[in-house]
Amino acid sequence: MSLFLFVCRRTLGLVLLLLVLSSLVFFFARSLPGDVAALYIGGNAKPEQIERARIELGLDKPLYIQYLRYMEKLIHGDLGISLRTHRPVLKDLIEKIPMSLELVILALFFATLFGVFTGVIATWYQNAWPDTVIKWITSACVSIPIFFLALILQILFFNILGWLPLQGRIDTFLEFSNPIQQITGFSLIDTLITGNVTVFFNVARHMVLPVFALMVASFGMIARLTRSSLIDVMQQDYILSARALGISERTVFFYYGLRNALSPVLTIIGLSVALILLATFYVEMIFNWPGIGYYALAAILSLDYTALMGVALMIGTVYVVANTLMDIVRRMVDPRIK
């Protein structure tokens, strides 16, 4: 199968999966406990008001008409109105996504970079002391519950050492003296473009702990997988023949070994996207970071079903798209996969 055909097939599968995802989300949300119209109108509402809200939200129609209306709105980018904030969910999401994306992208980047690097070091010194040390560290990394890690980081770096801020995105007084101009929504990029250097460093300092907490589990996974995949590749016959040809060990290792070992690592990077996105629920709550995770948590606690649907759709979409992309990249990098 040619690459083009493969991409076409995966894209078609992607569209189908997104359709299933949106339908699942709809039926999940419809089976949530609680009267949606009553939740929408708030406490102490008269029965007539609730009835009017029910008609306004289209809840009086049969389920399949509700479903069709929901799908129609979805295609037009209308995710409904949040029961909690009474604003369009899409607007809320667009406002929050860049703040979380900033953390997620940085965490994913560092997790991959350090993960692959650490895995390579562990293999290069296989069964020597660096390997053992790395094994212990990565075992701890994949075993630590994310909320526990975040709290430990707060105690260590704020309470004991006092090096980094406890929580939030920016110091409160800076928010008034040097406000961030919204251009892209990514605070780091916005402050750099506008030359707002003080705020840039302030935001960066606030970002260190959340990004670290987010990357730890993925880092451990990637490092372990890189090590085991590299060890497996280094036992292959073509490595033996490369060595027999007198190619230097370094070239064999990095050119013939590492390149072939990275293909499974790409898959785990796709999975890491979901892991990190879910971890933002906890990290953003603990570090009081006003992103998607915080929004989702507030929605869970107040049973804000439209917001929940929006978040579930978004995370599901990111997960499905990331996995498809990683499959395509893997296919391009590694011609052995058919």
Partner: protein, 298 residues
Amino acid sequence: MEKEAFDILSATVLKEHRKIKWFKLSLFFRKKSAVMALAILIAGIIMAVLGSAIAPYPDQGLGEVNISERLCPPSAAYWFGTDTYGRDILSRVICGARVSIFGGFFIVICAAFIGVPLGLWAGYNEGFSGGLILRIVELFLSFPSTLIAMGISLVVGAGSITALVALIIPWWPWYTRLVMGEVFSIKRMLYVEAAQMLGYGKFYILWKHILPNILTPVIVVILLDLGPAIIAIGLLSFLGLGTQSPNADWGLMVWEGASNILDQWWIAIVPGAAMFIMVIAFNLFGDALKEILEPDRP
């Protein structure tokens, strides 16, 4: 004469086979990390079995409020301090061990009991039923498992049993996929074809010839999944989607202590550390067994 020789031979083979088993076991006990992990696991399981019987303040472990002693730092009377309701943290950690540790076992074992037979079936029969199972598995695996579990918990209503069931539902497809791959790779082996030729039934072949040969990777994956299962339970109960207060649960306790983290750190850190220690013990144990049972698999 020939039979005698055969008996001697088979006895020797059996003896050697047993020796290999003992050798593997001795390999395990030669690993310091594995023995340490095993010791922690046994301690944790004993803690979970006995529960409130060994807790210093069993009633507080089960939720009794003791408002006069609230927010006490660790002391001789309360080894790990008390929480906002004056309950002894140590007792609550001991009582909460049951949900986490047994819950972890419950999730992976139930998931294996659903996932493995379906995987065997789908791997062996490539027709309609196998294809259907494959599609369902792929559908489950294309969405984040924890998100599915959260959705189910939200719909059904939070509780410790609901959380466990909600975690099993997205968990079994991983085993089905694993088993399916294993069955694919061995079902064209000569011994399977020989059994088919001899006219044995599908179920007999699956049970007698295929299952024993794929059991090792399945057991290894189950062992390696115990740690992640405990973390997943904690993730749900931290959000209030698992065990409900006043019952004790490690994830829930961390949530209860998170707001007091700077002044009364012990409320959140002690249950969090208990969870971390148990998970790392399960992971080290699984890793060690994997290295011994399947040294060649990356």
